[in-house]
Each structure stands twice: as C-alpha cells, then as structure tokens.
Symmetry: C2
Subunit: 260 residues, 2 copies
C-alpha cells in the first residue's frame, strides 16, 4: 500500500462475501460533504476487487445522500462475469443507509486493439498558467494542483460569461501518478463550469457516469468541463480528461441539481 494520500484515503479492506470496509477522510470534503468523485473512486476500487478485473470501462454512480467523513461499508454484487467484460454493482452505506449506488462494467484496456480514429484534441492550457488552488473548495484544493486557463474562470474576477467551460490541468499535490481509479476523483475536482452563470454554490450531483478509455501516463491531466443546458432545475456537466501524452483517458458526464 502506497503512502500517497489518495491511496490511503481510498483503501478498502475485505470484510467477507463481497463486502468491504473503507474510511471517508474529511480532507476530500467540499464543505461538510465528501467530494462525490472521491467517494466514487472508493466504490470503484472495491468493485474492481470483487470483479477481479483490471480496468473500469464505464461506471455510473447515483448519489442518494451526502457522504460524510467516517466509516463506509461497501456491498458488491457480481452481475455478470464474461469472457471480455465483467459487470457489477457496489452499494456504499453509512450507518446502515445507502449513500451511493454504483453500476459498472470492467475490462482490460490494454488488451483491446483494432481501428483507431480520434477527431478531438486536448484543451490547450497556457504554459505560463500559474499553479493555483480552487478558491471554492479549500479542502479539495489542498489535494490537487490546478493550472487553469484564466479565460475560463472569469467568474473569479466577478465577470459572467456566455460560455460555461472550465479548461485546466491538474495533478495530485503529492505527485501520485494518476491511474484509472483516480479518474473519477479527477472528473469531479474542477470548479463547476456553471459558475459562469450561477453564484458559486453547492450543485449536488445526482449521477455521474465515467467512461475510462485509457490508463493515464504522466502526472498532469488536461481537462475541459462544459455545461450547455441549464434549465428545469438541472444541469449537465460534460468532461474530457487527457493525459500528458495527448491521449484521451476519460469522458465524464454528470447530472446535477441547480439552485432554485
């Protein structure tokens, strides 16, 4: 077991019959509540062990209740173990109440091959962008170093913007190399792009789906998060995460609740 913060704080311990124990650490809080992506990474770690399969390919988390610092129980279920893919469920519980439900299909990202075609490019983060901390989530900001494209954070300067898009690069502050498990945390560690339109506030995530497309190489992950549709009390947030070699490693999409 490594000493990196993320590994210590996402550790899971087998507790028999597809069950695991974990501990939610407050240093991944946004306000009083644990960051959803961090919690999802814990569930993904347990589910990967239950499925005995290397890589999460597509994982969906439904956030039922706020996850708080403290003990977390995880119950997994193997739905199907196939030749190439394995599908399973993880139920995350605190005090006997389910806080997050995960459904995921795992496989081996290194095994696949065949056709290859990509028509998108990683976001450009200015080379001179300084390393700054997220101003809206102090605890989470301590876990990561962000370099932002300042043009995409105009709300920090009190300006509104038509484009709700945040571009930046991120690495773990303790230089933990990113892996497939950490991509859920990464997908939820940027300031919401909707802050271009809304007063910064907590936007509770109903659901987050992560497609993991590659094992990341390098420390920095270039990312772009975009909201295009804010109405009916809901908004989506679409993310792309690219590694240092210019490969897309994850697509994310979450549905969040907008303030009334």
């Amino acid at each position: 077991m490594s000493d990196y913060e993320f590994d210590v704080d996402t550790a899971v311990h087998a507790a028999g019959e597809g069950r695991y124990r974990a501990q939610i650490h407050e240093r991944w809080n946004v306000g009083a509540v644990a960051n959803g992506g961090y919690v999802m990474s814990i569930g993904m770690r347990a589910l990967g062990q239950a499925l005995a399969t290397a890589d999460p390919l597509t994982v969906t988390a439904h956030f039922l209740r706020p996850t708080l610092p403290g003990a977390l129980a995880i119950e997994t279920e193997v739905v199907k173990r196939g030749r190439r893919f394995a599908t399973g469920v993880a139920r995350l519980l605190q005090g006997g109440r389910e806080v997050v439900r995960l459904l995921g299909t795992y496989g081996d990202l290194e095994q696949h091959s065949g056709h290859s075609r990509v028509t998108a490019r990683p976001p450009v983060v200015p080379h001179d962008a300084g390393i700054i901390s997220r101003p809206d989530a102090p605890a989470v900001a301590e876990r990561y170093e962000h370099r932002f494209d300042a043009a995409s954070l105009s709300w920090l300067r009190g300006q509104r913007s038509d484009l709700a898009e945040v571009r930046g690069a991120v690495r773990f502050r303790d230089r933990r190399p990113p892996d497939v498990l950490s991509l859920a945390a990464i997908a939820d560690c940027f300031p919401p792009p909707a802050f271009a339109w809304l007063e910064p506030t907590w936007l509770p995530t109903l659901e987050l789906t992560l497609h993991v497309r590659g094992r990341p190489r390098g420390d920095w992950l270039s990312s772009v998060f975009r909201t295009r549709f804010l109405f009916g009390g809901l908004l989506e947030e679409d993310g792309e995460i690219w590694d240092e070699t210019g490969c897309l490693v994850a697509l994310s999409r979450q549905l969040a609740v907008a303030p009334p």
Copy 2:
C-alpha cells in the same frame, strides 16, 4: 392502453412484489437481436411504475447479453424514495438469465424551475430532406420515419468522412407522439455515426445513459449523434434529441464495442 406499436410492444404487466412481465417483439430487431434502446424503454416503464414517479431523469442500462424476441421478466428494486427524486434498479431477465441491468433516478420534469440558460441549438435538417428508411436495420426502419441530412450519411454513397456525425429528424411511423419513455428507443434508432469510419456492422452497446431533460412536444424529434473517439476496441456515441418546439429533451451517451 393505446394501439400504437410502441405502447403495445413495451407494455409491462404487474406480476407481484416489484415484478413485471413483458414481451419482446421481433419488429424492433436489429438482425436477430432486439434494439437496445427499445429494451431499455421497457425497463424504464417498469421502473417508473415501481417508483410511482413520473419522469426518468437519468437512466443507465448495461447490456449483458443479447435480448431476443420472446418473454421478458423484470425485477425492480426501490433504492431510495426521496422528497424530490426516486432511485431504483430494474433487472431484465430471459430464461432466468439477466440480459440488461438498469439503474435510474426519476423525478418530475414539470415541477422544477429556476435559472435557465442554453448555449446549443438543435441540428438543422434540410426542409427538403425526404423521408427515408434506415438501410442497415430493416425491422427498426419500419417503426420510424427518418429525415436525414444527407451530408451526414456519406457512407451510404460509399464515401468515407472525417466527421462521424449523423443529423436527422425522426418520428414514429404510426405517429405515436413521443414521450419520455420513448426517448431511450429514439436515442438508439439512428445509424451509428461511426459508419463514417467503419464498414457497417453490429456495434454492440455495453452501456447507454440517457438524461431526460424535457417532455417532448410535437411528432418530430431533431437529433444529432456523434462519435469522436474510436480506439482500444471501444467507441462512444453522444446524442442530443430536440423536440419540435426547439427544446432539448434528452442527452444520450453510449459506450459500444468496435469490431476487431
């Protein structure tokens, strides 16, 4: 119960204790297998009844095995019933084996309000685009009328294209008004945009997530489906579905398996 094909073929019958029975009709086949979006609509109907909540807001389906014409058993589980949202699971089984697992959160799309901002526009489908049938999926093609932007179907003319994007409008052939349940079927009824890059073939869906953002009005739904990342044996397909009043009614994303 209406006489429309979609309603007859997605009907579910209560079978006690959160269980339902349904019948997969072969007229929604792609080849020998039932169209995944159609099957998902059946699961969503059962889950909505189990949750007694009006609208699916976000539903994820993992496709475990091909669904074939014939009997379908559905087992639902209420994960959480909240004040505003309800979350549940549906297991779809044939011959005692699970074929699809659904996880969804439901709510009331008419109840929400608050901020509203949209920075995207519906795809433009040429007014003179004729009504044509999908050439690659004859049974499904009989269920819908499609008007395509011919420029987005260059593979039909034997041409390859850099852009893997299909734009068109669709309505049920029998003029059934689209509703929130039918949006899963609609999200899976267009030819795959990746046919711009690959020989037309079956691209099995691993997972499809649908965000329903509005109750559709009018008959025609304007839609765009796009693939940007084909590699590692996988590809994503991102969809937008808009109604006749110019409102976005759904976002979809699926992860599919590319041929070797």
